[in-house]
């Protein structure tokens, strides 16, 4: 993938909406940059891309992106994008939202969109907590880690969003971190090119609300933790069980080809060519 220039990135940003509201050292900017690099590398018509988000720190990203953007209610980005995609299949639909938004309040929508295999790309900004409201635990908070609502360590086990997406029927599942930022644009571009429901989980650092309770109180410590705990799939595979504990693989974890919902619906009802 050719590395896009700063000027190219700026062309896709609503510069008048900056500065953004994220804390210094937040991982969200790295993911935003990677997303834009993916969009530029695919040479997507900026008038044909709709970006939908939910509620939370990461969901505010859409305000800064110069496309058609919809900032929906908490958890509702995926079903709203489903309506957009079904009504105008020629539009490219991307959902950008956080771990609480996608896995908790929007969890039901997530699994059903995966089951349908509708052509939507979901990028999950996973910072393990609800940053905007002060650092409460989310369904992706690791067990025993601390949060504003779990000061003795989180009692519940988390979802593995990869397993959840795969079980539900997603056909492209990738994971990366903000430390492994260089791999990220290609993984996102792969998801956007994939015809079907694609999920890219990105581990993002929130040292302000999450790290401070878990001995990772600086942005650097958050990144170091990501570097130590996530490794490429091929290297992860050769680890023994003890070495795998506490670590997760990154990269393209799963992909398959299965009829995409919007196209399949139109075939079943003999609706002919998709409108433009």
């Amino acid at each position: 993938m050719q590395f896009s220039s700063l000027d190219q990135l700026k062309e896709r940003l609503r510069l008048d909406r900056l500065p953004h509201l994220w804390c210094p050292g937040c991982g969200n900017g790295i993911i935003t940059q990677a997303f834009l690099r993916a969009v530029i590398s695919l040479d997507i018509d900026p008038d044909r891309l709709v970006i939908v988000s939910g509620i939370g720190c990461s969901s505010r990203v859409v305000e800064y992106l110069d496309f058609d953007t919809v900032h929906t209610a908490h958890g509702r980005a995926i079903p709203l994008a489903t309506g957009i995609k079904l009504a105008r299949p020629s539009l490219k639909a991307v959902v950008l939202a956080g771990d609480g938004d996608i896995a908790a309040i929007g969890g039901n929508h997530f699994i059903h969109a995966a089951r349908r295999n509708i052509d939507i790309t979901v990028i999950i900004f996973n910072n393990f907590n609800y940053g905007m409201t002060g650092g409460q635990y989310s369904p992706l908070t690791p067990q025993n880690e601390k949060a504003a609502t779990a000061m003795k360590g989180h009692v519940e086990p988390p979802f593995d969003i990869h397993d959840l997406a795969r079980g539900a029927g997603a056909t492209y599942i990738a994971r990366s971190t903000t430390w492994h930022a260089l791999n990220l644009p290609a993984l996102i571009a792969g998801g956007m090119e994939h015809e079907g429901f694609s999920v890219i989980e990105v581990i993002a650092g929130c040292h302000v609300n999450y790290g401070k309770r878990n001995q990772r109180e600086t942005a650097v410590k958050m990144l170091q933790w990501q570097k130590e705990h996530f490794l490429p799939l091929d290297r992860f595979k050769v680890l023994n069980t003890r070495e795998k504990k506490g670590r997760l693989p990154i990269g393209l974890l799963y992909s398959e080809s299965r009829p995409e919902f919007t196209a399949h619906y139109r075939r079943v009802y003999r609706m002919g060519r998709q409108e433009t």
């Binding site: 909406r17 900026p46 008038d47 044909r48 709709v50 939908v52 509620i55 859409v62 305000e63 110069d66 496309f67 058609d68 953007t69 919809v70 900032h71 929906t72 209610a73 509702r76 079903p79 709203l80 994008a81 489903t82 309506g83 957009i84 995609k85 079904l86 009504a87 105008r88 020629s90 539009l91 039901n108 929508h109 059903h112 619906y265 009802y269 609706m271």
Partner: protein, 383 residues
């Protein structure tokens, strides 16, 4: 599928079917819903009929998702609707507020059944009048139309789409189990006689300079582009400025909420419809809406034959409430009897409108059975 719109025809039709047929006649091309009685027939019919018209039907995972999909489709330019009943309507409230704030046209059909909670599936009630008005949090206006017959269901469904598209607001068609499941004679209008309002679109893309929520005066309806038309429009459930971006400016916040209300309120007289019968010389007025209005009109007819000075009002537009109708009643009206299948909801609006000048009495029924004419006449004439 009936082809009623090429030329007018008389037929026997169910209320829910009339709603679905009218929606197709209004060029509705996107339906998302979740199964619930007594609204199921609407989804059942549209699941086959919509794709034949090039439209999309989808059964979502719940009513929250249904409302989200409807909003997404509408933002993308489709006339969109959903249909539900009490428990589902409750789940839809979250995004009805979103549609009201972001000014996204959509039609929500609520075929009322007994509540609260799972209530009485599937018996009639009229307990959702206030939920329609106040169901989502915050201070927003809404338009609610209540049909009392199969024929009115057809007409008001068309009207719901027209008001929704022209004013860029969610519109609720508040039916009930009786009207929804009733089969009766309907004269379907000729296609040419159906007048449809089109959503206004900006003439050409002006990237970077377009202010979708800007209006020249607060009564105007903003011209908001559909997604995918080159405007790079931003929709948000946050209080927004004229460009559509979040603002915390007190003046802009106040201006937005005031404008949303003014958009509906300044058109109250054109939005509000009531059907009056024998009102001119009446001393007693029976006031109702939906299925109960049918019983009221029967009482008016029967009592008039007995020489009683009685009239009736069928409120077809519940919200905004047509209070001017009640303020402008003939001076001879001494008593208004408000009949509703609940413990008293629209009566509060009638009392507010007449402001103590006319005696207001209530006939309420929460039995899950239709309020029969006899029930009303004995309540009116025994005292």
């Amino acid at each position: 599928m009936l082809q009623p719109h090429a030329k007018g025809s008389v037929t026997l039709m169910q209320g829910n079917r009339a709603c679905a047929e009218a929606a197709l006649a209004a060029n509705m091309r996107f339906f998302a819903g979740y199964p619930i009685t007594p609204s199921s027939e609407i989804a059942d019919f549209l699941s086959t009929a919509l794709p034949e018209k090039g439209g999309i039907f989808i059964q979502m995972e719940d009513e929250i998702a249904s409302m989200a999909a409807v909003i997404g489709a509408s933002l993308a330019g489709a006339k969109a609707m959903t249909a539900t009943s009490g428990p589902g309507f409750t789940l839809m409230q979250e995004l009805i507020g979103y549609a009201a704030l972001c000014e996204i046209p959509c039609v929500i059909v609520n075929v009322q059944r007994g509540g609260p909670s799972t209530g009485l599936p599937t018996s009639p009630a009229q307990g959702d009048v206030m939920q329609c008005k106040w169901g989502s949090h915050g201070d927003y206006p809404i338009i609610v139309l209540a049909p009392s017959s199969v024929s009115e269901t057809f007409d008001l469904t068309i009207r719901a789409f027209n008001l929704s598209e022209a004013l860029r607001t969610p519109v609720i068609l508040l039916s009930d189990e009786i009207v929804g499941h009733l089969y009766e004679r309907i004269m379907l209008p000729q296609r040419d006689d159906i007048r449809l309002a089109a959503r206004r679109a900006p003439s050409e893309p002006m990237p970077g300079s377009y202010r979708p929520y800007a209006v020249r005066n607060p009564r105007e309806v903003p011209i908001i582009p559909d997604l995918g038309t080159g405007f790079h429009f931003h929709a948000t459930g946050l209080i927004h400025d004229e460009e559509g971006f979040p603002t915390r400016d007190p003046q802009q916040a106040a201006a937005l909420i005031t404008r949303l209300h003014e958009k509906i309120n300044c058109r109250k007289r054109e939005i509000c419809q009531v059907e009056k019968r024998r009102v001119d010389d009446a001393a007693v007025l029976l006031c109702s809406f939906g299925a109960t209005a049918r019983s009221c009109f029967q009482v008016v007819k029967d009592a008039r034959e007995q020489g009683e000075k009685i009239g009736g009002i069928n409120i077809k537009t519940l919200w905004p409430f047509p209070d001017f109708v009640f303020r402008e009643l003939p001076p001879g009206v001494e008593t208004i009897v408000v009949c509703e299948m609940n413990q008293g909801q629209i009566i509060g609006e009638v009392e507010r409108a007449v402001c103590g000048r006319i005696k207001v009495k209530a006939v309420n029924d929460s039995s899950g059975t239709m309020m029969a004419p006899g029930e009303i006449s004995s309540a009116v004439f025994k005292s």
